[in-house]
């Protein structure tokens, strides 16, 4: 129970830290890292809910996290290509 709670709270703290730096930073790359940290926070929380005390872990959250990672990678890629297009214009 304690490890599970620790994991879930760590996830929540990561999420809040992510929001904080997303709103605080101006640079695109920092914003993107912040968004990914937020995502990791949610994934932590989901994994923590898979714990089933002695029984085999619930597989559904794992599937959700895998899907979430795929989505996060594509979103990051699109945002980075936006950043590149903006830089390509000349001044940054």
């Amino acid at each position: 129970m304690d490890a599970e709670l620790l994991y879930a709270s760590a996830g929540f703290i990561l999420f809040v830290l992510g929001i904080w730096s997303l709103l605080l930073h101006r640079l695109l790359i920092r914003k993107l890292i912040a968004l990914n940290i937020m995502g990791s926070g949610v994934f932590h929380l989901l994994i923590a809910t898979a714990e089933h005390h002695g029984e085999p872990a619930d597989p559904v959250p794992h599937a959700l996290v895998l899907t979430g990672i795929v989505v996060a990678v594509s979103a990051t890629a699109l945002a980075l290509s936006f950043g590149r297009a903006l830089r390509g214009d000349g001044d940054d």
Partner: protein, 487 residues
């Protein structure tokens, strides 16, 4: 009949893959896929009309293991609007993106956008919704930046980041729900909540609902989270602006409506609904005021979207206060009608604005007089769309606003009526500010249509919002399972 639920995803997705594989024929294949989609959605709507609800368990895996798809009256109404609007936009876009290089980028993204919209309206699972929301956000931001100018890139990068923040917040809510209820299926969640299993899960559920609604409100551009909308919608190519304003923000609103009124109904309170209504009132006043002050036609249209979304949120506090019964189901049908009418009117307005911009070379309202006078069909489109935005009879929004007014009075919440009046008055001002440009001393043009393929779809959309939806409300009422119908 349930085949049409699968086809609603397969047809546009297959179209998207085909246009990517055969870019030389992108425009033809794209338009054909959209037509097929419209046909399929017509069948789906017919199915819902006959059976009230269509359900599908993919591969015969029942929820919670499988992902459920459900089409009820509300989904069917949104799907039908999306299909018709996207058909008109596609016809227009074939003309707008004549340059093959741009067409090659437009069609795959546009069909993916359509796929994710269809998926969103059919999904009955919180996580499946998240995936569709992300697909929608990614394809919408990429479409918005197709123009390639620096302002468009900046506005749409911001739109993308805001969208991601919104969907992350939504996902956190989903994770909380799963930790408390061990299911993400709508029907199972609603059943557990109705039983009121544990006090703790009530608090957990309310927190999760709050997070999900906050994330979705960011995507639906609810005041004061609307800051990203005007630059993004104002800088996108015209067919894309039309889709963003009419369909994409509407999808986020649809989800809030569904979660608030159906799945999580036992957890919602009057206070929380009042907050949504208050933000809606802020949106109506601020959006209309900014639309009145806008110097560019597309910005006017974008701010008017902020205001019109505000009206949709005004329905929440009044629906919350009403007991189940005829008044309530009428009001529920009214909020749907309002969303549909705005979808048709705003897409027509944006398409017309795009054509005006192409003809005049700019869209500064003060200098549009000559151009408007040379384009009678487009001017008529702007006038018809404006009629629906104001809410004059016989538009669909007139019926919706009338029912909202009645609901507010029946409920004793008269203060919302003041917002309605002020918003309507401001809408009259911003629409007439535009329309006065169309009358002057120029010689009368000889042709009604200058370019039928560009002006026709816009005119049909605007006519749908003002002519058809306001007069023929009975089918919508039947689709939503409500007796009666007002016209």
């Amino acid at each position: 009949m349930t085949d049409s639920l699968v086809l609603a995803l397969v047809v546009p997705l297959a179209g998207a893959l085909l246009v990517t594989a055969l870019p030389a024929h992108a425009a033809r294949i794209g338009l054909f896929s959209v037509m097929l989609n419209t046909l399929n959605i017509a069948l789906l709507t017919l199915g819902v009309w006959q059976h009230d609800e269509l359900q599908l368990a993919l591969g015969d895996w029942a929820p919670p293991l499988g992902i459920g798809f459900v089409a009820d009256g509300l989904s069917a109404a949104m799907l039908a609007m999306t299909a018709l609007v996207s058909l008109a936009i596609s016809v227009y876009a074939g003309d707008y993106f004549r340059d093959p290089a741009r067409a090659r980028h437009f069609w795959p993204l546009w069909l993916l956008l359509l796929t994710s919209l269809n998926g969103l309206f059919l999904a009955a699972d919180l996580f499946n919704l998240y995936v569709n929301l992300e697909l929608l956000g990614l394809s919408a931001a990429a479409l918005g930046a197709l123009g390639g100018q620096r302002t468009a890139l900046e506005a749409n990068l911001r739109y993308l980041l805001v969208g991601l923040l919104g969907s992350m917040t939504y996902l956190l809510g989903v994770a909380l729900i799963y930790s408390g209820f061990s299911t993400l299926d709508f029907a199972q969640l609603a059943a557990q909540l109705a039983r009121g299993d544990a006090a703790a899960s009530g608090l957990l559920g309310a927190t999760a609902l709050g997070l999900m609604v906050m994330g979705l409100a960011l995507k639906a551009a609810l005041f004061p989270l609307h800051f990203w909308l005007p630059p993004a919608h104002g800088s996108a190519p015209a067919p894309v602006s039309a889709a963003l304003s009419a369909l994409v923000v509407k999808a986020a609103f649809y989800l809030i409506l569904r979660l608030w009124l159906e799945v999580f109904a036992p957890l919602t309170t009057q206070g929380a609904a009042n907050l949504l209504g208050l933000l809606g009132a802020g949106a109506v006043l601020w959006g209309s005021w900014q639309a009145l002050r806008a110097e560019r036609l597309k910005l006017l249209a974008a701010y008017s979207t902020v205001a019109q979304l505000g009206y949709l949120f005004l329905f929440f506090p009044i629906l919350q206060g009403l007991p189940a019964g005829e008044t309530r189901s009428n009001l529920f049908a009214a909020v749907t009608l309002m969303a549909l009418a705005h979808g048709f009117a705003k897409s027509g307005l944006f398409l017309a604005a795009g054509f005006v911009q192409q003809q005049a070379g700019h869209d500064r309202i003060a200098e549009l007089g000559t151009t408007l006078q040379q384009l009678p069909a487009t001017t008529l489109t702007l006038a018809l769309a404006g009629t629906a935005l104001i809410g004059l009879p016989p538009s669909g929004s007139f019926v919706a606003k009338w029912l909202l007014l009645g609901g507010a009075m029946a409920n004793g919440q008269w203060w919302w009526v003041l917002v309605l009046l002020a918003g309507t008055l401001l809408a009259v001002a911003y629409v007439f500010r535009l329309m006065t440009r169309a009358f002057g001393l120029e010689p009368t043009p000889r042709h009604f249509f200058t370019q039928a393929r560009a002006e026709g779809p816009a005119l049909l959309l605007a006519a749908m919002a003002t002519g058809v939806l306001g007069v023929a409300t009975a089918p919508l009422w039947h689709l939503l399972g409500t007796s009666g119908g007002l016209g």
